[in-house]
């Protein structure tokens, strides 16, 4: 439902857009952005938590006591062990195990990987698609512009979740039901990417329209720079800050969308669970006293989304000069 997270107008003068390689560090330190960052303890915490999650995901194999995706490593005899600090806890299962004898902590770490991969790739894909279409629409104009924007209009009212379900279904019907876990990941990225591109396209198109009339573009055209170069080198950097805001918020939304799809049965398979799949499975144990199977993945997901959202909020406020 990202559709209505209305981005701020694109005329925000973006600080630090053209940071050159040398001296970027001083620029960052001296920037308004960094100043505002340091002022907010909440933002620092959110950034640290987000960073921690990414690190945990990257180094999951080093921290985990088992690979929860490898059935040979799961022992049914170890199923449903409560967390370590409770009376029946057992080492090495810090947060307990689930029905299949999967270590909950390892499952969270590996699930985090899947969720983040889906989220990051989904956002990257939708960003690339949106930026490309936005640039084309804005720069070329005319019929192409109105076609792209019409599609965008329609899609903006069409909820992401339905689009994702649709894409999921189309891909499944094309490739048959035989989809392994890895290709399922691809499908999710595709589905999420296709549902979130509109905001980027609109934002970029808006900036392109503003920039197009400026003198430096005319100058660039005059010296014979090809259109793609002008767009990528000169127009695009000026739209980076709103895009960054959208991307951050969309990352959170993409991860939630994946979890929701998983609840509706179109997410990652049980043998290779994402955080969302873990919560869906754990859901079944909410009444049965095995709270740890759902509580920890749920907590991890909420903490992750919350920190990303906080970062996004701060970015939006910080990059919006009107709010300073």
């Amino acid at each position: 439902m990202s559709d209505a997270v209305v981005p701020h107008k694109t005329d925000a003068g973006a600080p630090a857009a053209h940071a050159s390689a040398s001296g970027w560090f001083t620029r960052v330190i001296e920037s308004d952005l960094f100043y505002s960052f340091c002022r907010s303890k909440l933002t620092i915490t959110a950034a640290l938590v987000t960073l921690l999650f990414f690190l945990l995901a990257i180094f999951a194999p080093l921290i985990s006591v088992q690979n929860p995706f490898d059935p040979a490593q799961l022992q049914l005899i170890n199923s449903r062990i409560p967390p370590l600090w409770t009376a029946d806890g057992q080492t090495p299962f810090l947060l307990g195990t689930d029905e299949q004898g999967r270590d909950v902590l390892s499952a969270i770490l590996y699930g985090l990987r899947i969720s983040l991969v889906v989220g990051v790739l989904g956002v990257a894909f939708s960003g690339a698609l949106g930026i490309l279409l936005g640039l084309i629409a804005g720069y070329v104009g005319g019929a192409v512009d109105s076609l792209i924007m019409r599609i965008a209009d329609v899609q903006l009212t069409f909820p992401a979740i339905l689009i994702a379900l649709l894409v999921n279904g189309v891909v499944k019907s094309v490739f048959g039901n035989r989809l392994d876990a890895a290709s399922m990941l691809g499908v999710l990225v595709l589905a999420i990417g296709l549902s979130f591109w509109v905001q980027y396209a609109r934002t970029v198109r808006g900036s392109v329209l503003v920039e197009k009339s400026k003198d430096y573009i005319a100058a660039a055209q005059l010296i014979g720079l090809p259109a793609p170069v002008i767009m990528l080198r000169h127009v695009l950097p000026n739209t980076m800050s709103p895009i960054l805001v959208i991307a951050t918020i969309n990352l959170a939304l993409a991860i939630i969308t994946e979890a929701t799809l998983s609840f509706l049965g179109s997410g990652m398979p049980d043998t290779m669970p994402s955080l969302g799949t873990l919560i869906r499975i754990g859901n079944n144990y909410l009444f049965s006293g095995e709270w740890w199977i759902v509580a920890f993945p749920g907590f991890a997901l909420a903490a992750l989304i919350l920190s990303i959202n906080l970062l996004g909020d701060w970015l939006r406020d910080a990059l919006n000069p009107k709010l300073r």
Binding site: L74, Q75, L76, T271, S288
Partner: protein
């Protein structure tokens, strides 16, 4: 004194009156995972639907609390000779609209249940000819002896000829029709309850039938049925007292329900057998890294798979004790000599050795097909199987899907597209012949095209088929049981299938309600009593 006596007499009289008419005054609310889709009793052969219909419709015969066949609309029957049966119908029975029940209705129903669009074709043999002798006597002529003729007739409900004709419902609702069938939305049975209102997939209200011919064994005036698909919500509704009976209770929630103080879970073994099958028909498996040959054709591989799987561990961990490991492809309640069979214990080392002997010391890869919304904890069982097979080096790629996709892929119309799968089976006739014929029978029998239709593994042994044919016509029970035993022994010797267990019934019942649980998992509320509120 006389006043007092009068008063006493009045009280006694009142008490007697209360006791005599077990005041049908209670409303029972019931929630099931599945919904009641059509009221037409011939359109969907599925346990929950059949059980719902049983409240309003009745067959010639019924089954009692122990699944024994008992008279219903037929008061009695006899076999004049092995191919000639005679049924004496109950007199004075009226349909809910007041039409009298006669032999014409039986003949009509026999045609209708075998007409296009019926899902109950196999319940009544196609070669059986129904002949009206008089208004209350019907003869059935067969082309060959069939001792289990009436074994599926408890699910064949009798409909009103006149009513069906009046409402243009002579045939079971054709699925392609553009207008709804009247019979899909309305009922006119003879049973103990009348459907007062029916919103498909939302709510169905049953009212007691005051004119029912039988003696009610319940104290209800009304049953309100609501489907609740979500497990958590269904359990919550029971715990909060919003409903009185739910089916099923997910096994992980059983303890919670029992500890709640407001409801308990009724458990019992179900007749359905859950088993694993291995494609032994193809020369090369569809989904495996072994090319040019089919490892499952090697009996040692099948034995190794069998021995690698620890059903007791599945029972204890995945099923939380609520399953009965099975040595046979049929539930012990349905076959008298089941106790002669014991299931070999899991033996990882033995399995590894067998794999090595067969030339698969390093195992191989195979894809497993599994439903994830059909049987109790089906996907979890499959995951456990994957883990167990990993220990003998077999890498199983699990494809767990909703039943719609799963059945579409693995069943005959989908081309048996599977290499290794999990399936559950309840013999509709409650008889071993069904298992021997449908699951263990050879596919592609030119004489009998329906043989082996559910034999997704393509197991084939002509000796077993020959026995199955003899079993069908044998009417001496003891002799028949011996032959069945012999047939099952053949299948076991061939390691044809890997039976896992019979899953447990799991009904959540409010403490205010007393209920009878039947092993076929039909929730029959005409045996329910509810405490006064």
């Amino acid at each position: 004194m006389s006043v007092r006596q009068n008063l006493l007499a009045a009280i006694v009289a009142a008490m007697v009156a209360v006791a005599a008419s077990p005041a049908s005054s209670q409303v029972l609310r019931y929630a099931n995972q599945g919904e009641l889709k059509s009221l037409d009793p011939y359109t969907l052969k599925e346990t929950t639907t059949i059980a719902h219909h049983a409240h309003v419709y009745e067959g010639l015969v019924g089954r009692d609390k122990d699944l024994k066949i008992v008279p219903a609309l037929a008061e009695s029957w006899e076999t004049l000779d092995p191919t000639h049966w005679r049924f004496h119908l109950r007199k004075g029975v009226k349909f809910h609209n007041g039409d009298p029940f006669t032999a014409d209705d039986v003949l009509f129903s026999a045609d209708r249940v075998r007409a296009n669009g019926s899902n109950f074709l196999s319940n009544v043999p196609g070669d059986a000819k129904f002949v009206k002798v008089d208004d209350y006597t019907v003869d059935v002529m067969l082309s060959a002896p069939n001792p289990i003729l009436i074994s599926q007739w408890d699910g064949w409900y009798i409909m009103d000829k006149k009513w069906s004709e009046e409402h243009d419902s002579i045939a079971p609702t054709p699925a392609s029709a553009t207008t709804p069938s009247y019979a899909a939305l309305h009922e006119n049975g003879t049973g103990p309850f009348i459907i007062e209102s029916h919103q498909p997939g939302v709510k169905t209200v049953f009212k007691v039938n005051p004119n029912w011919w039988g003696k009610p064994e319940h104290n209800l005036k009304e049953i309100i049925f609501t489907p609740i698909a979500s497990d958590a919500t269904r359990v919550a509704a029971l715990l909060s007292g919003e409903v009185d009976v739910i089916e099923p209770v997910p096994i992980q929630d059983i303890q919670r329900v029992n500890a709640s103080g407001v409801a308990t879970v009724m458990n019992g073994p179900e007749l359905r057998t859950i088993f694993l099958g291995m494609d032994q028909a193809r020369d090369e498996l569809l989904y495996s890294n072994v090319k040019g040959k089919n490892p499952f054709k090697d009996i040692r591989v099948r034995e190794a798979f069998y021995k690698a799987i620890d059903v007791d561990l599945i029972k204890n961990r995945v099923m939380r004790g609520l399953s009965t490991p099975s040595a046979l492809m049929i539930a012990p309640q349905l076959f008298a000599l089941s106790k002669d069979f014991t299931r070999p214990k899991a033996d990882i080392d033995g399995a590894k050795k067998l794999m090595a002997e067969a030339g698969y010391a390093d195992g191989f890869e195979v894809t497993m097909d599994c439903p994830n919304d059909r049987y109790v904890n089906d996907a979890a069982i499959c995951q456990a199987v994957v883990g167990m097979l990993a220990r003998i080096g077999v890498k199983v790629d699990l494809l767990a899907q909703p039943k719609a996709q799963y059945f579409g892929k693995v069943l005959k119309p989908g081309g048996y597209k599977t290499s290794f799968y999990l399936l559950g089976w309840t013999p509709a006739s409650q008889d071993s012949h069904n298992v021997l014929h449908d699951i263990l029978g050879c596919r592609d029998d030119p004489k009998d095209p329906t043989r082996g239709e559910a034999n997704l593994a393509g197991y084939c042994n002509k000796e077993l088929d020959a026995l199955a044919d003899k079993i069908l016509v044998e009417s001496d029970t003891a002799k028949r049981d011996q032959m069945i035993k012999q047939a099952f022994e053949i299948a076991i010797k061939d390691w044809a299938y890997i039976p896992l267990h019979q899953q447990a019934l799991s009904w959540g019942v409010s403490k205010k309600v007393k209920l009878t649980q039947r092993a076929d998992n039909q929730v029959l509320l005409y045996w329910a009593t509810k405490q006064e509120e």
